[in-house]
Amino acid sequence: MTDEDAARLVQKGDRERFGILVERYEEKLLRYGRKFLSRSEDIEDIVQEVFMSCYQNLQSFDTTQKFSPWIYRIAHNAFVNGLRKQKRSPLVFVDFDALLAHPVYEDPVPLEREQTEVKKMIEKCLDTLSPKYREVLALYYLEELSYKEISDIIQVPTGTVGIRIKRAKEALKTAYEELNPDHGA
């Protein structure tokens, strides 16, 4: 049964099926939250709130669309609020990355070697990046979502996702090389 099928049944009143969605997404959302917030306290509470909000708003979900970007969008909002509570991120109204159009150059499928390398860098250095870079790297490399799906989750143009991932990778590489000076040689 697909996520969308389960969501459709819950919409029609089969409430127990919501448990399937919780089982499928709990670990993913906890991992996303740990990478995004970088501090693990409160994350379980936030993820529980995400599922509760997901259930309350399930009738607004269009079952002809994919379920994962929809629930990640709810989680994104909850984690952004979590960040604000932690006062680690200033509230920025104008997102300069989203101001102009950027051409989209999505890697068809990132090379396995590159992917392994980026994941290794993410494990070691993700905490050093700002939340907006941490989030796109986590969604792209760990959750393996497409640019379009990430664009729907964080609600910025697809080109902005591309430019943000590119900048995040550069910042990650710099941070990794500072921690491991022998790596670049």
Binding site: F18, E23, Q56, S60, D152, V156
Partner: protein, 244 residues
């Protein structure tokens, strides 16, 4: 792993318990339909108010012939900036900002670069405002209604104060020429027909000259005003449609 499984079951059970105990319920479909409808209605409302303010801003410049200042060189440009209705402009900027925020709640709003949406909103607001002011007579009719005390409160607040005094030190605005003698104009202020005064021209200044003027013309005068004279730094004969 075992911990994760246990933890997963806990969260699932906790949520299902709340659902079954009816502590957690789904919002009905119409709730979302109403929310979208409200969002659309508020967006349209904000857009209409924004267009009205922009229209009134342009009308405020037209009714006071403040664009005449732009013909009078650097001093005139300074006067134009002093006269410009910055309060209305600020309100309109805030409304466009609100509209931008509202539109970003829709998919097309966040899928498009913000700059394009801002430019689009400015273009729509200014074009619609200019159309209302220049291609229709609603402002002129509203002004006449305000003159006759026939406008309701909020509109009267706008149109009842549409005719404004010039900025301090920058002249007398609209006048009718009573007579022309020795390069001096005798004028009556259109806002106060009981006030007659004389305009003294500077020597050899093409921006303030009596050439081409005759008694009965309605002119826009900018200058330093004394009790009975004004030392003009700019004079412009107003086109027929701006003489009211």
């Amino acid at each position: 792993m075992e911990h994760n499984q246990e933890h997963g079951t806990n969260m699932k059970d906790a949520i299902l318990r709340k659902i079954n105990a009816k502590e957690l319920s789904m919002h009905p479909r119409y709730y979302f339909a109403l929310r979208v409808a409200a969002l659309v209605a508020v967006s349209i409302g904000v857009l209409l108010v924004s267009v009205f303010i922009c229209n009134f801003l342009l009308f405020s410049i037209r009714v006071n012939s403040a664009d005449s200042y732009l013909y009078f060189g650097p001093r005139g440009w300074g006067a134009f900036l002093s006269f410009f209705p910055w309060d209305l402009f600020t309100i309109d900027v805030l409304l466009v900002g609100t509209l931008l925020w509202l539109l970003r709640q829709f998919k097309f709003g966040y899928k498009s670069p913000m700059l394009y949406i801002v430019l689009g909103l400015i273009l729509i607001t200014v074009a619609a405002g200019a159309f209302l002011d220049r291609a229709t007579d609603i402002n002129d009719r509203a002004l006449r209604a305000a003159d006759d005390d026939r406008l309701p409160g909020l509109l009267d607040m706008f149109y009842g104060t549409a005719r404004r005094m010039p900025p301090p030190g920058h002249g007398v605005c609209k006048c009718v020429i009573v007579s022309i003698q020795n390069g001096m104009l005798t004028l009556v202020d259109l806002r106060d027909a009981s006030t007659t005064f004389t305009a003294v021209m500077p020597q050899d200044d093409p921006r303030a000259t009596t050439s081409g003027l005759e008694p009965g013309d309605v002119i826009f005068v900018a200058g330093d005003r004394g009790s009975t004279t004004v030392h003009a730094f700019g004079i412009r004969k107003l086109p027929e449609e701006e003489t009211w």
